[in-house]
């Protein structure tokens, strides 16, 4: 039994990506700290370059081993699914930390803030203007990505490309709207704990939308090059799951961070 299981499973060849990725993370974080004390961005930029190289190489490698070498058998795919589920779960907890920070400070506001939430002097954003539009954009992208998924499953190549393109465009639109909101907001990151929690939470969320759009862009290139079949397209499903979780995180932000009064 054990022999059969090993014969079916694929062991990856040694790859430098875990090391380069870890080193990139180290250089970026320590580089960020260095940039704040010594006014030099060299270390952080080096880390960023290494991160981009790692992203490029590791995704190229996994596409080679799956699509071109045929190593992604059903048990291997299952492992990849487990991996993605675990990763997304960890991201959910990452965001829960920031929501917890917001609620910690807003549910029992200190006297220094005026004893109220939002703090005295903060002009909040109207949730029914741009935030509502942003929610609609992300929800629409959820519909278009589902449309793309079904098109892939039914072997409809052109429809899949169209829906996937539309999904990416909606992601870009969200990012553009959010950047505009950041510029037009009457409060800044330096405006006490309200500003800090707001911009850190929405900032990380925006970064995740950009990551999701990038992931989908790769999927679009792959779909155009016939990598996906109607029953094997895990890369696409991984991108869709990641983006769906991003969307849910924004919906939670919408109901908590953007409202005029803490619940």
């Amino acid at each position: 039994m054990a022999h059969q299981a090993h014969a079916m499973l694929y062991s990856v060849d040694p790859s430098p990506s875990p090391l380069t990725g870890a080193v990139a993370a180290l250089l970026m974080t320590s580089g960020l700290a260095i940039s704040m004390h010594f006014h030099t961005t060299t270390l952080m930029s080096l880390g960023l370059v290494l991160l981009l190289l790692t992203m490029y190489q590791s995704s190229r490698d996994i596409i080679r081993e799956g699509t071109f070498q045929g190593h992604h058998t059903p048990p291997v795919q299952k492992g990849l699914r487990y991996g993605m589920i675990l990763f997304i779960t960890s991201e959910v907890f990452f965001f829960l930390g920031f929501f917890s920070a917001f609620y910690h400070s807003s549910l029992a506001p200190t006297p220094e803030l005026g004893g109220c939430s939002p703090p005295t002097g903060i002009t909040t954003l109207n949730p029914f203007e741009v935030p509502l539009l942003n929610t609609a954009v992300l929800l629409a992208s959820g519909v278009t990505v589902t449309s793309a998924h079904h098109s892939i499953m039914e072997g409809q190549r052109k429809q899949a490309i169209q829906s996937l393109t539309l999904t990416i465009l909606l992601g870009f639109y969200f990012t553009a709207l959010q950047a505009m909101e950041y510029y037009e907001a009457p409060f800044t990151i330096a405006d006490g704990v309200y500003g800090s929690t707001f911009f850190v939470a929405t900032g990380f969320h925006g970064l995740h939308v950009i990551i999701g759009s990038t992931f989908f862009a790769i999927c679009l290139l792959r779909q155009a090059q016939y990598h996906f079949t109607s029953d094997h397209h895990f890369g696409f499903e991984a991108a869709a799951s990641y983006s769906h979780s991003c969307l849910m995180s924004y919906d939670s932000s919408f109901t908590s961070l953007f409202t005029d009064e803490a619940s």
Binding site: M84, I122, E129, L133, S147, F187, D191, S241
Partner: protein
């Protein structure tokens, strides 16, 4: 959170037949789901975005004549414990002089 659990279950068990079975319940026709979702995209999702765009545009027009809020030098806002590592060290990354006051007040009384 329940939705998340359900979603990750679906992702795990997702083989073609199972997905079709699960989705035929939602779509009504097993092989027609792509068409259904395409219709949803163009009839519900994108018009929904268009409506929200119109709403935002109209609301922005209403507010465009409002003056920025009066400046009160609260100590819990506009915190400058340390200079920012760019420019003159006093402006945030997305500083907008029309709506963001500096610790001493609005610049140039815009």
């Amino acid at each position: 959170m329940a939705a998340f659990g359900r979603f990750s279950q679906m992702l795990l068990r997702s083989s073609l037949t199972q997905t079709r079975r699960q989705l035929s319940a939602a779509a009504g026709h097993g092989g027609d789901s792509a068409k259904t979702w395409k219709i949803l995209s163009f009839v519900v999702a994108l018009p929904g975005v268009a409506v929200c765009m119109l709403n935002t545009f109209l609301k922005e027009q209403e507010h465009s004549h409002d003056a920025p809020p009066e400046f009160v030098p609260y100590t819990h806002l506009r915190i400058r414990t340390k200079r920012f590592p760019w420019g003159d060290g006093n402006k945030t990354l997305f500083h907008n002089s029309h709506v963001n006051a500096l610790p001493d007040g609005y610049e140039g009384h815009d």
